[in-house]
Symmetry: none
Subunit: 412 residues, 2 copies
């Protein structure tokens, strides 16, 4: 079964506002095995909304409208859906009574315009609103379902859970859903897709979704079946074929982000970590300490933005800086060793580079980043060239540094 | 002139992702006097997308598609728009060359599937992508405009500004738009709105929009008129009434973020700054160094996550930690003074607190954050209690620390 979500309200078409109700609704619908195939945001325009509802009803079984149920003339959802379905609006005095009671409880008097909210599409079931004045509406029409829900999340969410979910459960066949999430580091999306698409394209079930952020890719497998064991078998089968193609590049099989995986690896070894950051300026440590309880393994570190501070705080020799430049592997090594030594930590990560937009040269162009990892048996360094603006270079440097440590922690 | 925005990508129909490109695009279009009348999110479904593009072209002059320009078979925007317009796709070998050069610069080889990205709709102008592989496309068709733009914001935003904005400016009648942005620190949104809404509600033009993030509010005033002087007068009139209500809480009148304002203040005084971070774990420095050229005034700092490191690296006396606890004003003062002394900087900010979810106590509950500012005439400290989860507490701590320094820099 497929659903479309239509969010109504001119304020949702301004540069400052997003429709977020659709995220809540999508999560609820997916759990029932219902896919959301389209989301639309539209202003308070009755004619346009009527046309859209009509089109949506032509191509899918479930249409959910949010917003536009208020008392003002701008609120056109009731009229537009009635027109799209070719039904009348019927006045329900008992809804006026409920709205009046609500105002009295707040010590206020109902405004006359609130009576507009008591119109219900002929044949619809009104859904009581405990947290606002606008009732919702549930309409079944020739095998299709239309829901009218209020826009504010504190009104919509409980109404959906209490009134819509049980009605939907009666309509859709019970379905077991099993998901598997791989998170992969250090691979561009196109390379990854070329590697695994020949496999996942063979399956319509599980559905495979790939989410890519700089340096970080998530692969979501989602299997559905009437029988739980079958859904489990499907997801395990496809997962078992994808996993060997990616090998060590998979850093998480449960959705955990990289900083959590690295933290768990450190904790397991009772190891500690420190950092020495230049071009990332604190972002690496900021990411490591996003994890609650990271103080168990994160010792701290040094932000050494200038050559002098690299020397004063970490003991990087001035000769080394003069010979190789700050964004070099020898300096990255000296920074990592200096941090590990001064903090007395098991591991130390260092990052030094040119995040841009200024500061590049022919030999060290913008995007050059050197990463060092001091560990109990020595120090590894690597040089990278990341493309993109300052923010992207810094994000890739942080992610890559964490992944270098993760791979080291995999070694015996 | 009206526009519709269509975001393409099945990942945007999952419970975890929202299309945010439309916010950037809406702001840009509104500045040209173009209204966005509908936004649609649709999966990687060629047939459905073709139908939607066709409908959109029937009812408005500008259709912008974002995403679905990648190299995989899932990326169907090119084919769908070509079908909707009844045009062919034409292979452009020079685009393949550009993509190959990009891969070579990264020291990698182009994958064969990237050639799919070199297909351009007949009659379209390809738009070069400096930050990714997918070129954009600009198509004029019977008085209407269709734009195909890549999904990732670092690719879309500069492409729109450089290639689409000037082309649109040629098409729309000139409308003078004048905007004024106040950024305000240290005030909850509801308090701010109560203070200024009696004023801005009196004006339909300028339009006032309020954007709130933790600790940081933006007030956008936008006046439109055929005559530039009239737009200017309108925005100056409303701005002049709002400004005295907010006073020193306004930290920026041109949209600059707090870290840029603080950086400019330091630069003006030829002053330097260092940090000593505990619970923010690098995020404060990370924010300061988001500004290109921040190495001119940012000396560096210390991440002191443990009591021992506060003592070893910053000279915080163990007795002080034992008596007051790490999340205390005396420790914040010792950290700030220690950082300023060791880095030889004019100013030093320190942050120490309990970001949670664990680690709180009756006397120092989760959300307690102490901030110190060492300056040439001494050291100020303040204690805060921020509400929210770990991420929000840390974000508020960073923002508040920057604002404390900003206010100090205002003093003679």
């Amino acid at each position: 079964m497929n659903a479309e979500i239509i969010a109504v309200g001119s304020e949702l078409l301004t540069p400052a506002r997003l429709d977020t109700n659709s995220l809540f609704l999508t999560a609820q619908l997916n759990d029932l095995g219902i896919e959301v195939v389209q989301k639309t945001v539209i202003g308070d325009d009755r004619v346009r909304l009527t046309a859209i509802v009509r089109t949506s009803l032509d191509r899918c079984q479930i249409v959910i409208l949010t917003g536009g149920l208020g008392p003002t003339e701008d609120d056109v959802t009731r009229e537009a859906v009635a027109a799209a379905l070719g039904r009348e609006l019927v006045f329900h005095p008992e809804i006026v009574d409920a709205i009046e009671r609500r105002f009295r409880r707040m010590g206020r008097k109902m405004a006359e315009i609130n009576k507009r909210q008591a119109y219900v599409i002929a044949g619809a079931e009104p859904l009581a609103n405990d947290n606002g004045t606008a009732p919702g509406q549930w309409i079944e029409d020739a095998g299709r379902v239309v829901m009218l829900l209020p826009g504010p999340p504190p009104e919509l969410n409980p109404m959906f859970i209490r009134d819509c979910l049980p009605r939907l459960q009666r309509l859709v066949p019970p379905l077991a859903i099993r998901t598997l999430v791989f998170r992969v580091a250090g691979m561009p999306e196109s390379d990854l897709d070329q590697l695994i698409s020949p496999v996942y394209k063979q399956y319509e079930n599980p559905v495979t979704t790939i989410l890519a952020a700089p340096g970080d890719i998530q692969i979501h497998l989602r299997a559905r079946s009437a029988a739980a064991e079958e859904a489990e078998r499907l997801v395990a089968e496809l997962g078992g074929r994808i996993e060997p193609l990616l090998g060590e590049r998979i850093y998480s099989r449960n959705g955990d982000p990289l900083e959590v995986v690295v933290g768990a690896g450190l904790r397991e070894r009772s190891a500690t970590l420190s950092v020495a950051e230049s071009c990332t300026g604190g972002l690496l440590a900021g990411r490591i300490t996003e994890v609650p309880g990271s103080s168990d393994y994160f010792a701290g570190g040094f932000l050494v933005y200038s050559d002098r501070m690299k020397t004063d705080l970490l003991g990087v020799e001035p000769g080394l800086l003069a010979e190789h430049g700050a964004a070099s592997e020898p300096v990255a090594e000296a920074m990592a060793r200096g941090a590990a030594h001064r903090m007395g930590s098991t591991f130390a990560l260092s990052v030094t580079g040119v995040a841009g937009p200024g500061g590049g040269s022919d030999s060290t162009p913008v995007g050059t980043v050197c990463i060092g990892l001091a560990h109990p048996r020595g120090c590894d360094t690597r040089r990278f060239r990341f493309l993109g603006d300052r923010g992207r270079v810094r994000a890739l440097a942080v992610h890559t540094a964490l992944d270098i440590l993760r791979r080291k922690l995999l070694q015996p």
